[in-house]
Symmetry: C2
């Protein structure tokens, strides 16, 4: 399989999201013992768009083999490498309230190689303790811990009013990518990446369809 | 403002997601006292693509006024109506573990008109109690409660192995839209809508950029 050529500025974020979806489909195929699959079969089986699959993959190289299709295991490995999933990412989690606790226990992160290495919280009752072997550290020691552990990714699950302060501290300490669950409009400097998760948008795509159906 | 004509099969889901984003931007503009805005200004201020904005809105009607742009309050109200956000949606939450509790307290849902009306759980220690005034009901009474409350939307936050059974029960009882947080591949009949939330995909878009940067 050829090495990929990256033309980053041209790759839409939706393409990257779909690479994640394709990786999951390929994992499923691998579990089912499927060795090769055409883009048409892949699309039909997982309710994807075959032209979109080919277009998305074309950003990164020529993966299909004429008359055969894609090699399931090879393509999966290649997509994992492109997505940075061929390694483990230690992650900082900030905030251990309801949402933070849920994210800490969310199995999907671990499965994809994201390991929460340290938890930051302000609650004196939690600081200094451990959760499943992971230390809970006060936010006053955030910068020191992030630097010592050379962390690059952080998940922010603090109340909205604390989110910007925490994010500023994270980025100043060397965090390059922030996944924010706080319902706050955050700013990060150009060298860092920010991804906001707004869970209500997911519900709104559903209410859209219900609203249409009820008219 | 003209009534919208809906051509549902042609509207990409990403367009619907972006309508949610535009609605949030318009709310912000309204709070800031902005009465009208052009698609260019809207795009610049919120880091959107102005051609995309115009194309997305064009699915639903002609909202801009030549030389003026969009009326902020009018467009916001119209988008809320299209998204079904001009009403309250009572929602069933299934599963009150870590993630379920976090979703129960997630303020973003309430803010957009999604009100958790009943919680289902299997834990005898929780059944019959209330959480913030909302009843916690055993899953054996799921069908009865969903019917009695005429619920159409459910959030599934149970372990993966229980997700399909619960979803089947929900749909059989009349639920038309399921937001699934369980890491399981679920099936619903054609008349119901299913939306899977995979939080690790959000992290993967970040690790993609970090992986590219580190090469």
């Amino acid at each position: 399989m050829p090495r990929s050529t990256y033309r980053l500025p041209k790759i839409p974020e939706m393409t990257i999201r779909r690479l994640s979806v394709y990786t999951r489909c390929l994992l499923q195929l691998e579990e089912d013992g499927v060795a090769t699959i055409s883009s048409q079969e892949l699309a039909e089986r997982f309710n994807l768009n075959s032209a979109q699959v080919r277009k998305d993959l074309a950003y990164f190289g020529e993966f299909g083999v004429r008359g055969i299709g894609y090699h399931v295991t090879g393509l999966k490995a290649e997509l994992q490498r492109i997505l940075g999933l061929d390694r483990e990412w230690p992650v900082a989690l900030v905030g251990l309230g309801n949402l933070g606790s849920a994210l800490f226990h969310y199995k999907g992160f671990t499965r994809q190689g994201f390991r929460i290495a340290v938890v930051f919280d302000d609650d004196p009752a939690k600081i200094g303790r451990e959760i499943d072997g992971v230390p809970i550290v006060g936010t006053q020691d955030l910068a020191r811990e992030v630097r010592a552990r050379q962390l690059e990714i952080a998940i922010v699950a603090v109340p909205a009013e604390a989110a910007q302060t925490v994010t500023d501290q994270l980025v100043a300490a060397g965090i390059k990518a922030v996944l924010n669950f706080a319902p706050a409009r955050l700013r990060v400097p150009r060298e860092a990446r920010l991804k906001n998760v707004d869970l209500s948008i997911e519900l709104e795509t559903l209410s859209f369809y219900l609203a249409q159906g009820n008219r």
